[in-house]
Every structure is written in C-alpha cells, then in structure tokens.
C-alpha cells in the first residue's frame, strides 16, 4: 500500500497571512475526510498552492508558552489567568510567524514504511502528501497508518473498515 491509498484529500488549508484567530476557527471545524470534526493540524499553502508550512495544535501551545520558560523550571510559579492572557495576545499574530516551516512530507507513490519513518524521526502525527510537481494532494494521518497496521496484523482485507 502506498501513501496515496491512505491519504485524505486536502479540503481545508491555511494561508500564511491568516491570523491565528482565523486559523483556530478553521482548525475547530475543518473536515477530516467526510466528517466535519475539526483537526489538530493544517497545511499552510501560498497563493500558488505551494506548501510553505504546517500549523498544528502543538505550534499554538508552543506559542502561548513563553520562551524564557524553556530555560528554567518555572511552571510552579505561574498564576491563574496567565495562559488566557497569552492566548488573547496571540489572536492577531499571523500564521507564518508561528507555523512549522521545515515540513516533512512524503510522496504519493512512497511506500507506507517511508511515511512511518518520517513520522517517527520528525515526531509528527500528520504528513502532507505531495505529487511529482511538488503540489500537496493530501494528508496522511498517523491514525490511518495505524489502522493499516491493524488490518495487516489481523489479516483483514484492505479497506475493510470495522
């Protein structure tokens, strides 16, 4: 099985100039396959449809977490309301300022093991799938790869959903 057999076609994406307010609104309602369930990360595409980054829930968590707290253990000394205050300040920031710019991708014809290799080494849960021209054609999710593993393990037919 290849990446393209498991990927989900990109329906929602962000633009670099979107504000975080726009971004979180879309993350909340974005479609994943047929369902409108919200997603944990979205690709960021420029005008020409080229992939320029990924914005995930974790990027937003990192953005509210002050950089100086990376340097020392200060968690015990924070106060109620600090996170909400940081979140409000973030609303008008642009997506390009916070997105992950160095995105790991997989090709549509790559074997699934290649995708797993990327997911493990880059510590990501979703991979943009690109075609030969470099255009993003879909998203491959960790959960879907996991189900492929489940099917193989239980000797189920491909596509045999429970």
């Amino acid at each position: 099985m290849k990446a393209k057999d498991l990927m989900i076609t990109v329906q929602n994406f962000l633009k670099p100039d979107d504000t975080l307010r726009d971004a979180v609104t879309l993350l909340k309602v974005a479609k994943r396959g047929e369902e409108k369930v919200g997603v944990n990360g979205l690709p960021v595409l420029d005008e020409a449809g080229k992939l320029v980054g990924m914005l995930s829930m974790r990027d937003i968590l990192k953005a509210v977490h002050p950089t100086y707290m990376d340097l020392m253990d200060l968690g015990e000394f924070t106060w109620d309301g600090m996170l909400e205050e940081a979140a409000k300040k973030l609303a008008d920031k642009k997506v390009y300022a916070l997105m992950t710019k160095d995105v790991t991708t997989t090709k549509e014809d790559s074997p699934l093991m290649d995708a797993v290799d990327h997911m493990i080494k880059s510590n990501v849960k979703r991979l943009p799938v690109i075609d030969n021209t470099g255009r993003v054609v879909g998203m491959l999710y960790e959960r879907d790869v996991f189900f492929a593993i489940v099917r193989a393990m239980l000797n189920e037919n491909a596509g045999g959903e429970k």
Binding site: P66, T67, Y68, L71, D73, L74, E76, F77, W79
Partner: protein, 455 residues
C-alpha cells in the same frame, strides 16, 4: 628615549613578522564583522600559524608563553561542569524567587536586590551563566507584576559584569590575567573586591535615580509574587546539599590556593571531579558534553594566535609604542590602560583584547626593568596597578554597549524573543554613562591606593 630606540630595533620585521601580523589582523577583523563564528576563525587562524611554521605545534600545545594556557581552559571547563551539575537542583530558581519575595514585590526593591544577587553570583560563576539563570525568573516576575522587563534585564546584565570583576574566577579576563601574571585568588579579593563593592553601591544609587520613580505596581499584582512558594523550586535537595558542600570546599580551595601553592585550575578541576563523584551520576558524558566547547575552543585558538604574534615580536613592538605614548610615566600608563581597556572592551570582545594585552604588559615590564625576571618582574610593585587597571577596564568596559559583553548580548537576545528588542542606542544610553561612572571610581581608587597611599 635612546633606550627605547635600542629596544625597538630588536624587533625584526621580516616575512615571518608580516605573515603572523596578517593572520592576527585578519582573524581579529573578521571576529568584529561577525560574518563567521569567532570560534571557527580562532581555530583556522591558530592552525594557520602552525602550518606556516610561525610557531611549532610544540609551542602551541605546550609552551606557557607561546601556546594554550591550560590553566585558563581547565578552570573554565571545571566551573562549567560544576554549574551543569548544580543547575537541575533548582537552587538558582530558589534564589531568584526568594529575592523577589524578600523585596515584597516592590519593583525598585526587586531591581536592586536582583542586581546585587546577580553581582554576587557573577563573582563566582561566569556572567553569561548567571544572567541565563536570573533573567528567566526576572521576566516571569515582571510579567506577574505587569512591568516593563527591559530596564530589569539591562540592569542585571550590567550588574553581572560589575560583580564578575570582583574575583579571579568571576570573569574570563581575570582568569587570564591571574594565570599570566601568576596572581592568586586572594590578591584579587584584596585589590579588586573593595573597589567593586564601591562601584556596586554607586550603581544601585544611580539606577534608583534613573528608574526609581517610573516603576509602579498595582497592589493586587504583588500578591501574585507573594503567592509563589520558593521551596517548590528545589527539585533535588540531596544533590543540592552535596553540591553546596563541594562548592564550599572549592571556594575554600580558591581562598587558600596561593598559600598552598596550587594553581586555580587544580582546585577547580578537583572540585568538578569531586562533585561528579558524589552526585552519583552514571552518565558523565551529558554533563561534560554540555560544557561550552565553542567558548573553550575560542580560547585555545586565541592563545595560539597570540603565541604567533608574540614570537615574531609584534606584541613587543606594540608595547614599545605604548611606552612612547605615555613617555614612561607609570601613572600615565596605568590611566591609559584603564580607559583604553574600558573603551576597547565596550566595542570588541574583551577576551581577545586581554589575550593580546597580557603579553604586551609583560613585554612592557621587560623594557622598563630589563634586569629583573620571573615573579619579581611579574609582581613588580609598579606593575601591579597596571594589571589591576587592565582587569578593571576590560571587565567593566563591557558595560558600555550591548555588544561589549556576552551577558549583554544574551539579555538583548532574550528581550528580542519577548518581542521587546533593545536597540544598540538604548543599551548604550544606559550602559555607557554607567560604565564611565564605574571607571571613574576605579581611576580614583587606583590613584589613591597605589600612587598616594601606596598600600
């Protein structure tokens, strides 16, 4: 004058001279442009000196005069190891939170206490480490009190440079001077600590005048600080106790190393080894790998480059020029070195500066007192104020601009990440007058102590 002319003719400006001088100027010039990392430049410059046979590898690796000063390297690396073991205990978070609570959340009291704490910690740890340990807590406290963090960060960087000047181990220039001039820990305590205490007092009064009125805080926000429990900061009380005991032994070792005839590096490395042993760590490679190897290699490279220009006589030639300018007046030389060092260090890295000045001072001494050698020359009563001026000027000069000292660069980097960049002009607006104030105090001190009272 005839004596100097005679001495000058001893410098042969042949091919070797110009090759070594070119390498020296190229490396120092490129360091200033910051286009290539200074450590890479130092390594390339140093090895070029060897490849072009200006110095031999034997000189570069094993000669005290022309090569790497291992006393400096091992002192630095040992202190880095000690800090790397102590950091996870949470002791530094504890000290900073405790300080804010002692100040009862009052903004100027926080600024003053943080400055004094930073200065005292800097006297024993290197300045960058100190600000990296104090600044994150400062930013948190300022955020809790809804205060502008910039004045706090600037005052801490400056305080760390002041405090670092007080002892042999406080700042790399002092470590280098101590090793080259064979001065012990207590000599620095006796000669530099008193004036630094005065400088620090004057500094706190000055920042009170500058910032005292503009710092205001809402009553309810102070509760945020008062609600913090500093005891929660301590993550590993057992390791902390062990660390404090080893640190006490190490400091006692520093205090006595002169009397016991040990080099400071011996004491520091012994302390580091002892702490590694009692910490019970099974993975020393992490602790060792976290030493700042880029800094250490920068030092090693510089020592080799300086060795090259010492060997070909460039430094001797420069020392002759300095004596010509001051026309043999010792107080004149001391004053020139104090102020020149301060302004030079405000704009260039004080480490390469002191690396160059150390052999220059020795060459100068050789010309002033050609019949004396060894310790009698290095510790000539008339030479001592020159060493102290070099230390005071080079360390305090770093406060002049944001690029003058690594601690300044670090806090400016932090402020920028916070979205509150400190401009070159803004830092200088505060830093330069404060630096000049401190150097004036030192100048008066040196004149009074060594030329009037002669004690």
């Amino acid at each position: 004058m005839t004596e100097e002319v005679k001495a000058a003719t001893e410098v042969v400006m042949g091919t070797q001279f110009w090759v070594a001088t070119t390498i020296f100027i190229l490396v120092y010039g490129l360091i200033i442009t910051e286009k290539i990392h200074k450590t890479i430049l130092a390594i390339v410059g140093a090895t070029t000196m060897i490849v072009l046979r200006i110095v031999t590898q034997e000189d570069a690796f094993n000669s005290m005069e022309l090569g790497i000063d291992w006393n400096v390297i091992f002192l630095l690396v040992s202190m880095m190891i000690i800090i790397n073991i102590m950091r996870p205990t949470g002791v530094f978070e504890y000290i900073a939170i405790k300080s804010a609570k002692v100040a009862k959340g009052r903004p100027f009291a926080i600024m003053a206490i943080f400055s004094v704490v930073t200065a005292v910690v800097s006297a024993f740890l290197d300045n960058v480490t100190t600000v990296l340990l104090i600044a994150p807590v400062t930013i948190l406290i300022c955020q809790a009190l809804e205060l502008d963090v910039v004045p706090f960060l600037i005052t801490e960087a400056i305080a760390s440079n002041i405090g670092g000047t007080a002892t042999l181990i406080g700042d790399p220039p002092n470590i280098m001077i101590a090793s080259k001039a064979q001065l012990d820990f207590m000599a620095f305590v006796y000669h530099l600590t008193p004036v630094i205490i005065v400088v620090l007092l004057a500094y706190v009064i000055t920042i009170k005048l500058i910032f005292g009125k503009q710092l205001k805080v809402k009553e309810e926000l102070r509760q945020r600080v008062m609600a913090m429990n500093e005891n929660e900061a301590i993550k590993d009380p057992v390791l902390l106790k062990k660390s404090l005991i080893v640190l006490a032994i190490t400091v006692a070792g520093f205090i006595m190393h002169g009397t016991l005839h040990y080099e400071p590096a011996t004491i520091a490395l012994f302390g580091a080894g002892l702490l590694l042993l009692v910490s019970g760590t099974k993975e020393p490679h992490h602790i060792l790998a976290e030493a700042e190897w880029a800094t250490l290699f920068f030092f090693m490279g510089l020592f080799m480059i300086i060795g090259g220009v010492v060997k070909v006589g460039l430094i001797k030639w420069m020392s002759i020029k300095v004596l010509e300018i001051t026309q043999g007046s010792l107080f004149g030389t001391t004053s020139v070195i104090l102020w020149f060092s301060a302004f030079a260090s405000a704009f260039i890295d004080n480490i390469p500066y002191v690396a160059t000045m150390n052999p220059l001072v020795i060459d100068m001494a050789k010309q002033l007192w050609p019949n004396i050698s060894g310790l009698n020359l290095l510790h000539h009563p008339d030479l001592m104020p020159i060493w102290w001026s070099l230390a005071l000027g080079a360390c305090l000069g770093g406060n002049g601009t944001m690029i003058g000292a690594s601690a300044n660069v670090v806090v400016c980097g932090m402020a920028e990440k916070m979205g509150k960049p400190i401009s070159f002009k803004k830092f200088m607006y505060y830093g330069m007058p404060l630096m000049i104030e401190s150097v004036i105090i030192c100048h008066v001190y040196i004149w009074l102590r060594y030329y009037v009272l002669k004690i």
